[in-house]
Structures are given as C-alpha cells and as structure tokens.
Symmetry: C2
Subunit: 405 residues, 2 copies
Amino acid sequence: MSLSELSVSEKLKIVGEKHSQIYEIMSSNQIDCWIIFTRETETTPDSIMEFVVGNDIVLQSAFIFAIYQNELKKYAIVGSFDANTEKEKGLWDEVIGYGHGIKEHLQDKLKMLNPEKIALDYSLNDVSADGLTHGMYLILEDLLKEYSDRFFSAEPIIRAVRGRKTQTELKLITEACRITEEINSQITAYLRVGMSELEIQSKFYELVEKYNVGYAWKKHQNPMCDAGPDKEFGHVSPQPNSYTKSGYTLHNDFGVKYKGYCSDLQRMWFFGSKEEVPQELRDGIDTIVQAIQLSAEKIKPGVEGWEIDKIARDFIVSKGYKEYMHGLGHPVGIKAHDGGGLMGPLWERYGELPKTQLEEGQVFTLEPSLWTKNYGMIALEEMVMITKTGCKFIVEPAHDFLYID
Amino acid sequence: MSLSELSVSEKLKIVGEKHSQIYEIMSSNQIDCWIIFTRETETTPDSIMEFVVGNDIVLQSAFIFAIYQNELKKYAIVGSFDANTEKEKGLWDEVIGYGHGIKEHLQDKLKMLNPEKIALDYSLNDVSADGLTHGMYLILEDLLKEYSDRFFSAEPIIRAVRGRKTQTELKLITEACRITEEINSQITAYLRVGMSELEIQSKFYELVEKYNVGYAWKKHQNPMCDAGPDKEFGHVSPQPNSYTKSGYTLHNDFGVKYKGYCSDLQRMWFFGSKEEVPQELRDGIDTIVQAIQLSAEKIKPGVEGWEIDKIARDFIVSKGYKEYMHGLGHPVGIKAHDGGGLMGPLWERYGELPKTQLEEGQVFTLEPSLWTKNYGMIALEEMVMITKTGCKFIVEPAHDFLYID
C-alpha cells in the first residue's frame, strides 16, 4: 500500500486529537456553538470535515460542538445510513440517525443548547474555512430562523483546529520532511553538469516511487527544477532543453505527501566547489539564509503574519535587492499550501490573511527569494513549527548551496 | 495509463461540446447571465467547473456566460497565473488575467452586459448545482451590490449542462456499460455453487484490473454481491461467510468508470437451470423486468421524475408486493449517482427533486426491487438515455436471470 495516504484508523486518531483541542479553541474565541452543516461531501466537501469527522457523508448532516454547562458536548445528526459509522467512532456524545428529515432533531438540539453564538463554516478570506455552500446556508437559515442573528463565521475556530498540529500530525510532517531531505541528498549524489531539468525531475520521480510516498502538489511541477541563470522560479515547469552548467546553480522546490501530510522545501545546488562560488552568488545565498534566520527569530504566538514577512523583506531590500513579489511563508498540512493565515505583505490580493495572528502548533514555510544580476534567482524554503515562545525548524535548515564538484 | 480518467484533451473536447449547448439552455430558461464565481477549487470545488472549465483555478475567478445582443458571450476573469491556461483553450471570447484584484474587471463586464437575471451556483435541492460557497456569495454580493436583486439559482442551467449528455459523453457511458456487461459475462462463466460473496467480488476486482478501468463508486461496495435468500440489497458489503447456493440467486450491483464516465447496472444469477426456477422467483423476476419496461415506455422529455417512478411502483404493488423503499432511478454521468433530478416518490427526504422534468440527453437508471417470501430480494438495474420522443436502453436490458447450471 502506498504511504501517501492515512489509513482509516490513523485518520480517526488525528480526529480524536483534534476533538480534544476544541473546547479550548471555542472558549478562547468566546463561541459556544459550532455547527458543520453539510451533505454529499464527495461532491461539495467541507475541508474541515477531514479533521473533525474523518469521512464523507451523504444526506444533510449536522455536526455540533457546543459548550453547555461548562462542558464540551458533541452531537452528530446524520442520515440513518450514516449513523453506524459515526457511532463506531465513539467520539460523539450522541449520534442521531434520522429517517425522514433533519429538521426536528436539529431544532431540538438548538432549543436545548440555546447558544449565544453559532459559528458556521463560511469565510471571506480563508478558503479552508469556507466549506458551507450558499444553498446549505439558506436551508440552515430557514431551519434555524429564530437563531439566525446569532450566526458568525467559524474562521477562527477552523484556523486553529486545522492549523494547530497534533502530536501525530507533527510526526507525519516531520517524516515527510525527512524523506524529502533524504531524496534531495540522493539527488546530490546523482547530479552532474549537462543534465536537463526534465531528466533531473525524472530522477526525483524514480525516488518518490522508491520511497512509496505521494506528491505534495501536482507532479508536473513537483519538483520544480530550475537550472540557472535564466529562469524565474515557480513559473515554468522543468524543461527538456534547459541544462545544468558549471559555475551556475540548480534550484528545486519539492514536497512529498506522507500519510496525508506534506513537506514543502527548496534547496539549491552549485556546480563547482565552495571556493569557486562567485561573490554575487555568495552574497545572495548568505542574504537568503540570514533573512530566514532573522525572521524565524521573531516568530512566536500572537505576532501577525505580515510582521514576520516584513523582517525578511526589509533585510533583503537593505542589502540592495528588490523585494520578492510573493509572501514569505504559508501554512503546511494536508496540503502544501494549507489554509489559515499567511506571512505575507499587506497587499490587496492577500486580503486580511496577513493580519491573522500566529498560533502555537502551526507549521509555516519561510521562503524568501532574490534576483542576482548575472546568476538568476536565489531562494531557499524551510519549514518551522511555532512553539509557545518561538519556533523550531522541522528539519535542519540549509546554510549554503549544496556543492557538485 | 489507466482508462479510468479522461485525458486533458478529451476533457476539453467535452467542455467544448457543453459550451455549444449553453446558448439554448440559457435562452430557454430566460436567463441572460450565468456567473461561476470560485477560488482554490482544489479545496472547495464547484462541480460544474468540470463541464464548462475543465481545470482547477487558484485565485478568485469569474466565468461568465451571457446572452448579449442575441449572442452568447463567454468571459474568463482569472488570476494572472491562470490566464494562459484559459487562453490556450480557445473557448473564451475574452480572458482577463488580473494582478491586484478581480473587482473592477468584474464590475466593468457587468456594466457592459447589464443583465436582467444573474444565475449563480446555489441550490436548495440539487447538490451538484450548489458549488458556490457562502463566503464567496457574500464577496460577490458586495462586489455586485447594485445587481444583487437580480441573483437567481443556476439550478436549471446546471441540471441541463450536466445532465444532457454530449456525443462524446454518450460514447464513454456506452463503453462503460459495455465493459460492465463483458465483465458480468465472464463472471457468469466463473460462478459455481459454494463460492463466497467476497471470493466473487475478488474475481470482479481481477477483471476490473484486466480491463484497466476504474470503479464507479467505492471499491469495497463495488460490486455489491448478494447471495440469496437472506440479504437486503445495497446495505451490507460482500461477506466472507455468505455463499452461493443451489436453487437460489446471486445479485450484483456493479459499475465501472471509463475515461471519467460511469456505468451502474444490476444483474441476477440463478444457480440451476431455467426449468428449475421456483414459481416465486419466476414471478418476481418477470415483475421486475415488466416494471422496467412499463416505466421505460412512458419516459420522455417533459415528464416529471415521480410520474415514472409511480408506474413501476404501482405495478409492483398491483402484483401483491410491498413498494420498494427507494427511488426508481437516478442520473448517471461522471458519478454513478450524478446530480440533477430523480425518478423517485414524493417523499420528504427527496425534497423537490422528483418534480424536475426529464430532459432529452439525460441518462437515468431504472432499478426497481421487490421482496419474495422465501428467496430474498429481486432487483435489476438498467440504464436509459432520454431521446426527443422516448428513451433507449444504453445496453440490452436483462430479460431474466442468468443461469448457472
């Protein structure tokens, strides 16, 4: 069996760990009721279901988390066909399998709970918190008429549930990063001057298959392989007629999926010895390594994403380079670009996302880049986990080019 | 390469065919503007995109179909990264790749078009027409403030676009059915008394692999294999300790996915010769075959789904059986249970779906069932395509059991 996907029991273990976070997340956000209202999730998935339910459902279903008399209560109201699956998990205080319709069951529960705030899965900014369809919203609004002035976006809950990694999730992400670095190191032994980007990508494919893992994003751009000096990173897939050259670099952006969790790392090779590195490349890579270090030092819970981005951005500009035209880092989880926050500049296209505060347990990339005059782009990408007081690198960060001499 | 998925070029061919249906569908529904408004479709997919766009997109995007001065105009407004992919298709009158935000481009187009009705992808009844998330609805409502009283559900457009099969789609569905019947016929040659359901399912798996196709629904329930007389069809996966018996039946519900399109057929075997069939089973299978024929004879565009269901249901009840506790038939397409209508009874749990009118080009199953006293359930499932004046069976329907003697 492929190591790219989680087994059902592993997934349910993570779901259990997530459930144990929910009381604290809901109470710190002053929300006493969270309803996931969904149907036919194979056609219209609500991505938070992966973390707190763990399987698809068919008929209209409501998964309710409520703080009631200072305790977390958890209810699943599902079509009768789906009820056994929920009961077997042992995660819900009550599972209701309905025959004719969800209406009375849902209304009964709400009447009993009488919550002050009802969080629903919609969000203007965060796509991963926007799993409620508009049709389902209209149905719910009608079912819960008398409560509709208590509806709020569940964005802060979802960001925390998805973002704060559990022990199991951290282990899986760490293993994904470790495998990525092992493959990178086998690539180092393989690389020679005169290879095409496409040829190098094929070698990666061979190793991904050998490790029996999946791809963290689409295979034709994973890894990206960019032979210096002419390519703008991240825009063009590996080419058959672009070759590694002596005295120039090779860049890659590569991530695997290990049991459902992703890595996303960038590394660079130089074709020649450390002593042969031209000053421009030396200054460039040192600037990138330092920018990552400086920004990592300021990461801690409560800081807003844009503040961290600004540290790396300002430092790179202070060294005489143009600023990079992307964000410094994004969350990583079951997707390489996971939802829930951004270390990015306050540009219109990023909306409010860069203003979200960092939280303990989140995993982010740090991936600044810069242009040199004669040697093309330089970039590295690391992954850090946010701790109570700072952050730590998931695997040892790069300090320099890898040398092929 | 597996034959389960469509290639990109085949998918785009179908997208092109769908585009050529849209003018007629929109004008017959008196809707002059249809906007698909979406983002990050890997996380929150809008399933109609598969038919009229054909790929995922990243940033907020609007795909606009508008009847303007009696012509269909088609615009794609996407993030600059996604613009080339859209341009290369040659399907859009204009592709706008924006840098900072979608707002002004979308407002400009609407100002120019000034539509009377704007159809959006939300629906209370049809999950396949409910791809617009509530967060995206709120964004659009804000972007198009002055038009928000012209918003309507795109349900009738989506039902027609998804439901009315193009030439290419029909070919693929027919091929999926043909392969299904070929596999069923190889199973007929393989079956013996004393085999377990699980053993028979494994043989199906072997043949699905040999034909290099995919599964129309989840593998552990595809095929369902039900050895008579004790099983209620459709509820319990094939068992290791349930065996075929002389003088009893085997039922299966089986569908493959061929280049993205599904089959969904039920067949029944009898272990013994035609002459040995007990009267109760003879009456049962004849009733099912007739119920399918009688309902098929009444199918034509404009009839409502419940009317067809009622024909089979009433006929079975008139023969002294209890009515079946499910719908007679559902649409088939890229999913075995595709969206857009239902031949089912007017029960609360089916909502308004059974009241939707049948349309030319739709593909439906016909799958009545009944209980015998001593031999368990009897059911067959056929697939029909609706024509201008009636319907035709996609492959030859079953007229009787298949005999293992």
